[in-house]
């Protein structure tokens, strides 16, 4: 199995922290457009296996995240930033599940 890369999209602390433990791809976008651009860039990379994005940034590009989440790879995961979780991850997951099985499930 070829090794896949991990990328993180977040704020300074997030990118630095993960950089320390070996996540080499990271970006700190300053606007929703930049966030979207970075997301698509990582998504299109065939070696990319996992994309981490902070909930705060994810909520600015929610529609793109939901669209891209339809693909099995790379996996897109929402993580809290240093200020804590905003619950956005729940919204994205609920929406995906609702689209698939047609019922609203809580978490």
């Amino acid at each position: 199995m070829v090794s896949d890369k991990i990328a993180v999209i977040g704020d300074r602390d997030t990118v630095i922290g993960f950089r320390m433990v070996g996540v080499s791809e990271g970006s700190m976008p300053k606007s929703p457009e930049e966030t979207r651009r970075k997301l698509l860039e990582y998504f299109r990379n065939p070696r990319m296996g996992l994309i981490l994005i902070t909930e705060r940034l994810a909520s600015t590009v929610e529609d793109t995240i939901i669209e891209l989440s339809q693909a099995p790879v790379p996996v897109i995961l929402l993580i809290p930033d240093r200020l804590g979780s905003t619950g956005t991850h729940e919204t994205v997951l609920k929406e995906l599940i609702r689209r698939a099985v047609g019922v609203e499930i809580n978490v």
Binding site: S3, D13, I16, M20, G22, L50, S69, P72, P80
Partner: protein
Amino acid sequence: MSKILPGTKTTRMELLALKNRMALAERGHKLLREKRDSLIMEFFNAIAEIKDAREKVNATLKDAYSALTQAKMIMGPSRVVEFAYASKMRADLTISTRSTMGVRVPVLSVDQENPALPYSLPDSSAKLDLMSSKFRDALRTITRLAEIESSVKRLALEIERTKRRVSALETVVIPRLDATVRFVKLALEEREREDFYRIKMVKERLRQKVPNS
């Protein structure tokens, strides 16, 4: 009223063929229903695990961020950045798939290389070590969560597909076959009756020709 399959010949052979198809469709329907139910069970199991995994991620990340803040306070933010970029730690992700009931579900594992001396020791502080170890833990819990969330999504999609196929069989395929079977049966019976009647007529006529038989 379901549409009868166009072009069916009203013969006994056709009836046999149709009955076979019907049996096949009904067997398929039963199997699909079972598949749907098993998938739904797996789905709910995975959903239960998600909550737990998500909480772990939140907890480990919280610790990691606070360790990071402490390291920044002690060493200054730019030193922390330097060390982070110079760090020799690696995280290699491996994604493979396993099959649950015909659904390809991802398996994620992260191989974290922690060389004995990832950064120069005398210049850094214990807080940096703490921060590294916390972020490594966080990455592990994150990988697990990514795996579970991904499984949930795959299962959800497969459940939807299976539901559609069950529904298609129930509302279209089987009723159509059923209607066609009945149509052919009816036509065959009608022909038998006609034949029976025709034979009777012929017998009658023969009897009239030979009145004293």
